[in-house]
Symmetry: C2
Subunit: 340 residues, 2 copies
């Protein structure tokens, strides 16, 4: 079985986008606007139509089996609006993911967006995580380490600010993918530099903290191959040494995992050569950041399965770990969601 | 000849550090403090002592010939103080580099720090660049794309804000290494995540701009192997395609170069495998970010010459390009500084 642990619902029906635009207008007029849940009247047929020609088509064409699916990352927009709009926006977004998992139980497994919001603690996020895991059968969440959209002004991930949320993650037995939303800072391009910078930054925050002594069962997936981390693995090993931290495998490789959203063969070759196989989870992020066909190969840039299969060093057992085994370990609720 | 294009004066005499601390206290008391140049009474012997057991020792041990040398990057501190303190601090720092190039003309070639300062244009930087190139024989500069120390609130490098400085660079025939200073933002670890994030971000700013159409002769070195760029080269090629930019080799590979400050063999192997050889400049950043010995190899992490020599695909001609030829092309004033 091939499990893609990183897919976003980037083909949402127009009603959802319109709803969000209305919300933005409301909070522009009134920053304290109290948002309401509304019935967007999105039909099952509209949901089917939105994925049939995209995510499902690619699953079929590429021969992947399941996508661990969450709302569009760039759409989370935690820097926009207030706690109330963030909550209703997250609920609407997560509920659509839930409906897709019900329409396509053999294709999608849910992961939720969180109602993080500037200047608030994580209570609302804890509540929405509980709802999504306990009532909707979701198996994880996307946690945003920089809700400013590019100013990096939240406490680092080792700070106690995050601890109540980590406690709930451990209690519910769900991991988090560390994932920022769109940048609103003109210095950054969201998918080109902001995502990769946030990935690298999150890793270093973990390296310099005692997070995993406090939460031995906490698990994070760092997407996009871990940003710059595998390419600079020597630098990080050397910095851990200089900072008198334990070796990285002891310090965090039971807790931190890297996905395979790296869009060329040589990048994937480095990733699987540098990181232990047990720390690599298959992912493509389709339909996502890079949607074109690589003129050098004739295949989609984000058809990452080809790079895993194309790597010459991986054994069949290694590939099975990357495609399925590691995901089952990192997402303890996956087995149940898969019905086995 | 082996030219290390990225070395910082990280072993400064105590007087220089004390001077900077006094400056910080002065601007704390009075934000409009007008700094004065003072004679720090640093002797030639003190300068010799500061590098004999460090940079020069490593040059000898590792068999490198010249270091393109600049003030400590993390010490530039462009977020600290005001235009006046930034200017005098830069002058003091650059003058010590100059004295070292005079004491050791066969070891060091100067590159300057710039007196960038929050809320100012680049006139002072233009002036200091002119002084360092024309009077001190320097061959380049370090340009800071984020003088906030981690909030990324300057205009992107393609913005007209930077153009007067680029004009001067082209007129003087000098390249810039893109290099942030220490982070003052607790989200970042300076050498672990901030440098790499800024490198990646600078590259994406270049990818999305028409900078090199406007300045065909402008040249930038992105340090630390280009941050995350080579590892994600497929992503950047795909994004250029999606954004309707020309192919990356046309768009920027006559203007953007990557150094070899990547501290493990597999990282260097990826760099030289992915990037054209003509775009790679040898560098170690010694004595810099990572100072220890890699227990896996028994050699210093930052002894990057070993990784270039250890790579199995590079021809002797490739290595000569990386060690010397490319630097001569990227730094047009290097030949003169070398006396040939």
């Amino acid at each position: 079985m091939i499990i893609d642990c990183h897919g976003h619902y980037t083909t949402e029906p127009q009603q959802l986008k319109d709803y969000r635009e209305r919300q933005k207008l409301e909070v522009e007029k009134d920053p304290f606007h109290q948002a309401e849940e509304v019935d967007l009247k999105i039909t099952d047929d509209q949901l089917r139509e939105s994925v049939e020609g995209a995510q499902l088509k690619f699953q079929r064409e590429r021969g992947t089996d399941r996508t661990i699916f969450s709302p569009r990352a760039s759409g989370m927009g935690h820097h926009i609006g207030n706690a109330s709009t963030s909550l209703t926006w997250s609920i609407q977004s997560n509920n659509l993911i839930y409906r897709l998992t019900q329409l396509y139980p053999n294709n999608f497994i849910g992961v939720c967006q969180l109602p993080q919001s500037r200047g608030t603690d994580l209570r609302a996020s804890i509540g929405e995580l509980e709802r999504c895991v306990e009532q909707l059968g979701f198996i994880g969440c996307n946690l945003n380490p920089d809700t400013s959209g590019g100013s990096f002004d939240l406490p680092p991930l080792g700070d106690r600010y995050w601890y109540p949320f980590y406690e709930k993650m451990c209690e519910l037995r769900v991991p988090a993918m560390i994932h920022v939303s769109a940048a609103c800072n003109p210095a950054f391009h969201s998918t080109g530099s902001y995502y990769l910078s946030a990935d690298t930054t999150a890793f270093m925050q973990m390296l310099t903290s005692d997070l995993f002594s406090d939460f031995p069962d906490l698990k994070f997936i760092i997407p996009h191959g871990g940003g710059a981390v595998p390419f600079h693995w020597g630098r990080f090993r050397g910095l851990a040494d200089m900072l008198k931290r334990p070796p990285l495998d002891e310090l965090l490789l039971d807790n931190v995992f890297f996905d395979t959203c790296v869009y060329h063969q040589k990048g994937i070759d480095l990733l699987v050569d540098v990181m232990p196989i047990k720390n690599i989870l298959f992912a493509s992020e389709m339909v996502g950041a890079v949607r074109g066909i690589d003129p050098e190969t004739g295949h989609y840039f984000d058809d990452t399965k080809r790079y895993i299969v194309g790597n010459r060093k991986l054994s069949e057992a290694d590939r099975m770990q990357i495609f399925e085994g590691n995901a089952r370990r990192v997402y303890p609720r996956l087995a149940e969601a898969l019905g086995n």
